[in-house]
Subunit: 757 residues, 2 copies
């Protein structure tokens, strides 16, 4: 293994002190002179035709400065950015129809929040109610209410994958099982509600500060929906209080803030309430998953047939991508000689589902992993052994997707079995106690090459100064995951500098180099990290040239940037301080600053991702047979994220994943009455809290990803998948209840115990 | 003349709408969460030793968060930036001694302004008063109080220039005259008082928003006085309400805001009151000017011997540069076969004088021009004819300074004589009415190559986008003079785009390209303009390559950027839109953004400037013999600023110059009682108002400066010089009173009339 100085160490997070002190500015903390406050008028009906909107009473309210409905907009649709343009089905404000309770109909900007709130109550919308549908089975029936005229079937996306001969595979299998799983919607529940602030600048350009994961995509979509040029919009990402996939689309308040700033000449800010977030916010896709798998007697996988229906809610949002990815995740982890997938994205009159941490993997892999455990039982094998037998390894090809490069999957399974005492516990736990396993694989950034950007996928600029500092600029978005710190570490390592030598500017689409596609798909460490290294190497080349010239070095000398110096490796007397070397390059270049741009675009890496992370997790639970409550006693995780750039950050990702996995498995769900979300606050929506967290151990499996920066790959989203199946399997181990319909509520447990007894 | 599309037209100012609407944010308009308000403790004595500072009572005041004295600082001196390092004599907060009334002793930061104000009253400074000196003659006497230990003579700078044989010149002269002039201190009276706001960012770097003309110099000096690295400081220039030379140095409040932000972790803002500005602010140098000139009978100049003593006040500030420049300006306008200059910069216990619009020229040229008028009378020549006889012309060499390139001086003199009806009026005006002339030459940016920057003097970055827009980045500082608009015009012209296609970011030392030395010496149009063109040409080269490749053009084709297209000049069918051409370059470059950096550093242009502006002005006055009041009836100006980039902006510069010139000649002065400034508000300090402005006509003499961008040179400061001598000469013409001691007050006029009658 290569030895690192800064990479691999627990350097403190760049954003830590500001957040600890409370001085970190989130969008809603910002206030500009003359700023107006926006509020959105939302539909109270799940499906209705808009007959008339009367804004006159609101307009007459003193302090109201602007009211907009679809009539004030260019009525340009948006949606899944440049991926499936034909699936773009959403207007910033509803045109003619509303399709879910909470759908955005109009917006008001007023001199203060109370006035805006009062004004939206005065806007009278006359609706003609239409029949609604809240269930995918019903939505797909002939004669079901149609949500979008362009899509009479309500099935907006059909995605198919096929390789090998699946039918032949099943006919040659010794053991075939078929199961249907349903998984439910949960909320991202980021602690910072969405907020956007727009201002028109001197050039007539709109500057939008917004709580987003994807500044560049917002720039593009906002410009297009406003009928403006891409660079008529500048997007700046302030501090972000979490995204988890819920902040990676253009949203109505961003559009309205911009439009109303343009109309009024004043800054306009929208901040959602928690109630709005829960009522109408994006959520993880509920899915119905039918999976059929065939094995040989010895446990060798032969075939898999996977059908998934996604409940998309009223609009496609990122659903087409989720549909696409579900099919890819279904073929991950294990070697499937033949595989068939059919995904369908279905409209219902509910709040749109969209991207959420794992983006199809938590759902798809819940089915995979539970089914593996069931098959293992039937085949009389230990689930660990069955997994190891079929596990993907480095060099495996997934047709049309990728050849797996680094892969520590088997090592992860073995490590987690070892550390959890699997064999022993699986056999000898007390009644009511159980241990279970779940595994994952995940992408390190999406290739999805129909993300038809004209720019590199990630870019970085490095400016080096004679005072020994460097300035790193990148559009990559730190949304709380710590990517700024990680990118600084990578740069410090490459240039032989310390963290305190690096200044950083990120995620301002006007100032940082074009482009970066945003914080999703666990892409930043690998993609932006590679761009940083590319830029740093160009800087080094020039510094090496200066040192070489200064000492008139023989060309065979290997040079290095290390400990703040630029030097010949073999002869330490041929050495300049970093700043001296920069000054020499500048002088040699007639005073021009030493600046380099770097970029990364995955090429020849298939359509999905340049690198896969892997891992395995074991949960131990105790089930209370009186209350039906599941207590998770311990979690063990072994995972392969390649080189660990910042151990504490990776462990932070793990802790967050376990927290989300606990909620997904056991407590979180939207309680719906038809299209109405009933639990719209943190008292009623049961998210696990710090005190609910189980003790946890982790092993980072030692691998080196050749495509990753200094060997690194994803660590952020893969871990969102194994927790629910591990807990679910442990519950089965404890009490014999096999959950095929998440979440595992006390009611289900008690019902199962009742039946079992 | 070359035909331009955007250059030479009255495009609206970029900053106009925001300023008209009141939405332009000046530093004092900014407010950050947790921000503290700073106030400065100033010396009530003109010269004293600080025996003890007791801050305990102030520290005990609730709401006071930070108090600093020199003891809390690294005690690093600053001053004239990298020009004469040995003249740096000022500490951010007084160490041991105070040297003028208003000298900065301590600073307080508190939660609001009132608390800060109350706190400074509670700080008890025990002084031991020292003898003071307020007059340069007294200060230079043996045994005078010494202000700075390092400088027992109180003469901090001796600057000498000599070429030709001056003594021989005088001996060969037919006519020699010697005069002594004194000119007084006036205030910049910018409408925005100084303000600075500092915040520590995530990287531990200090961001300083400050009302400055010189962001990069502030970055360097602030870093050095804080003992930090250059890039530990980021300076951002918000909207500026005028500078005129008064905001081109690091100042105590900038230092204190930064230091206290570092100490408290909270943003700290200082904004000066108008009283502080008048009491202790920088001002134009009072000077005593002794000038001896020798002519041949026919009016040909033979020799000049110029001695100037500058009353520098308590610190050098920009005085050394002023001393230097006075000598250069003394040799301008006319051909002096022999010339000798001796400038002395003298300390007195008054507020420091420093740079102010014209920077030595208004004083030096007042003497030159009045003396020319006196000589013309003695020689029996028309002052116009005497000037034309001796006027510098294109190709003239000024030893050790420059070879004059473009020069429309004679044309200016002729034009102004013509338009004002000089000949006629000089002979036939009514009693009490007079007409007079003054001329000027001025630099277009300073070379002063001991401004030892490691960077180009000006730099620009241009980013071109496929949506047909470009983004211009430059550190050049628009301080209200309109340079952002001018630079956009130059770029639009060069790239064949419209103003609305250009986005601009300027004057942020962290984001814009290193470096620009700031807004002083009328440098931005020429220097930053050249950098913009350099960058634009690099962009064009790449666009031309794309068009050439696309149409497989023969190499003999001349290509152009025009009307938003990139095309072959001869064949309009070989044409792409600007955006299409950019997209092609990007694709050919694997998606890399199309970005180019340009720069300008004057080389081989001597030590002073790459290009000189010239002009002449005629004033017509009426003198009221009852009141002694001078009414300026009309001003005629003809000037040579090369290509006029924005006519309305140039006329704005002219109007502002006349306003300042009126004040300098007639009404403005600091009323001092020893070291105490008595008139510290706009009621008592008599600045001409809009209603005092005379009608004015202007002719732009048509020249093309080869070193300037599209032929342009300075238009901002030269015009600050001719108004006072023109008015003064007109007063002499009207009533026979020749003012050798500015300003021309009613008292002086009445005294003169009394003597004359």
């Amino acid at each position: 293994m290569k030895q690192f100085s800064v990479v691999g160490t627990d350097v403190p997070r760049t954003d830590g002190p500001a957040k600890a002190r409370g001085s970190a500015l989130y969008t809603d903390d910002m206030k500009l002179p003359g700023m107006l406050y926006g509020r959105i008028v939302r539909s109270p009906l799940a499906h209705a035709r808009i007959k008339h909107i009367d804004t006159s009473r609101a307009a007459a309210l003193p302090g109201v400065k602007c009211i907009v409905t679809a009539e004030d907009t260019p009525k340009i649709k948006y949606g899944n950015w440049r991926l499936f343009p034909e699936t773009q089905d959403e207007y910033p404000l509803a045109v003619d129809k509303v399709r879910f309770i909470g759908d955005e109909v109009a917006a008001v900007a007023a001199i203060d929040k109370d006035t805006a709130e009062e004004a939206i109550e005065l806007i009278q919308v006359e609706y003609e109610e239409l029949p609604s549908v809240f269930d995918i089975d019903a939505a797909m029936q002939l004669g079901a209410p149609v949500l979008h005229d362009y899509c009479p079937t309500n099935i907006s996306v059909n995605r198919k994958i096929k390789y090998g001969d699946v039918e032949k595979g099943f006919s040659e299998s010794d053991y075939v099982r078929e199961d249907t799983f349903t998984v439910h919607a949960v909320s991202h529940a980021y602690l910072e509600p969405c907020s956007a602030l727009a201002q028109v600048d001197l050039d007539g350009r709109i500057t939008l500060w917004t709580s987003t994961q994807v500044p560049y995509i917002i720039q593009c979509l906002l410009a297009s929906t406003l009928g403006m040029r891409e660079n008529d919009v500048r997007v700046i990402k302030p501090f972000i209080g979490g995204g988890f996939g819920g902040k990676m689309e253009l949203r109505t308040w961003e559009f309205c803030a911009a439009l109303m700033a343009k109309m009024t000449g004043r800054p306009v800010k929208f901040t959602l309430s928690r109630e709005e977030e829960f009522l109408a916010g994006r959520r993880r896709h509920p899915m119905k998953i039918h999976s059929k798998v065939g094995f040989k007697k010895d446990g060798t996988l032969v075939a898999k047939d996977l059908r998934i229906q996604l409940d998309g809610g009223a609009y496609n949002a990122m659903g087409p991508t989720a549909t696409f990815l579900c099919g890819n995740f279904g073929a991950m982890l294990y070697r499937y000689p033949s595989y068939r997938f059919h995904g369908q994205h279905v409209y219902t009159n509910k709040p749109p589902a969209s991207a959420m941490r794992g983006f199809g993997a938590p759902q798809s892999l819940y089915a995979t992993e539970i089914q593996m455990n069931m098959a293992a039982e039937d085949l009389g094998m230990d689930p660990i052994d069955l997994r190891i037998k079929n596990a993907q390894v480095s060099g495996d090809k997934i047709p049309d997707v990728a050849t797996i490069s680094s892969c520590g999957f088997i090592e992860s399974i073995k490590a987690v079995a070892e550390m959890s005492g699997w064999k022993e516990k699986r056999e000898n736990l007390k009644p009511g106690h159980g241990i279970g396993i779940g595994c994952y694989s995940f992408i390190s950034g999406g290739v999805f090459n129909w993300f038809n950007t004209q720019y590199p996928f990630s870019a970085a600029e490095v400016r080096a100064f004679s005072d020994g500092t460097v300035h790193l600029l990148t559009m990559a978005a730190d949304i709380g995951q710590g990517s700024d710190t990680v990118l600084k570490q990578i740069l410090a390592e490459e240039l032989g500098l310390r963290m305190e030598d690096i200044r950083m500017t990120s995620a301002d689409t006007s100032m940082t180099p074009q482009a970066d596609l945003g914080a999703w798909g666990s892409r930043i460490t690998l993609m932006a990290g590679n761009a940083v290294i590319d830029a740093a190497r160009k800087i080094k080349e020039q510094l090496f040239g200066a040192v070489s010239a200064r000492f008139n070095l023989n060309v065979i000398h290997e040079l290095e940037c290390k400990d703040g110096r630029v030097q010949a490796k073999a002869k330490s007397e041929y050495s300049l301080s970093f700043g001296e070397a920069v000054a020499m390059v500048q002088k040699a270049n007639r005073g021009e600053p030493l600046v380099a741009r770097g970029s990364y675009t995955p090429r020849g890496k298939g359509l999905v991702t340049p690198a896969f992370g892997f891992g395995a997790q074991v949960a131990e639970v105790e089930v209370d047979s009186e209350t039906g409550l599941v207590e998770v006693k311990h979690m063990w995780t072994a995972h392969d994220c390649g080189t660990v750039i910042n151990p504490r950050s990776v462990e932070g990702q793990l802790a967050g994943s376990i927290q989300m996995g606990l909620g997904y498995a056991l407590s979180e769900q939207f309680v719906m009455d038809g299209g109405q979300t009933l639990n719209t606050n943190f008292a009623d929506y049961k998210m696990p809290m710090a005190l609910d967290m189980p003790p946890s151990d982790v092993v980072h499996v030692d691998t080196y990803e050749p495509e990753g920066p200094m060997g690194a790959k994803e660590a952020g989203e893969g871990l969102a998948s194994p927790t629910a199946p591990a807990i679910s399997d442990a519950v089965y181990h404890a009490i014999g209840y096999r959950c095929k319909e998440l979440p595992i509520t006390p009611e289900k447990i008690l019902n199962a115990l009742k039946k079992g007894s």
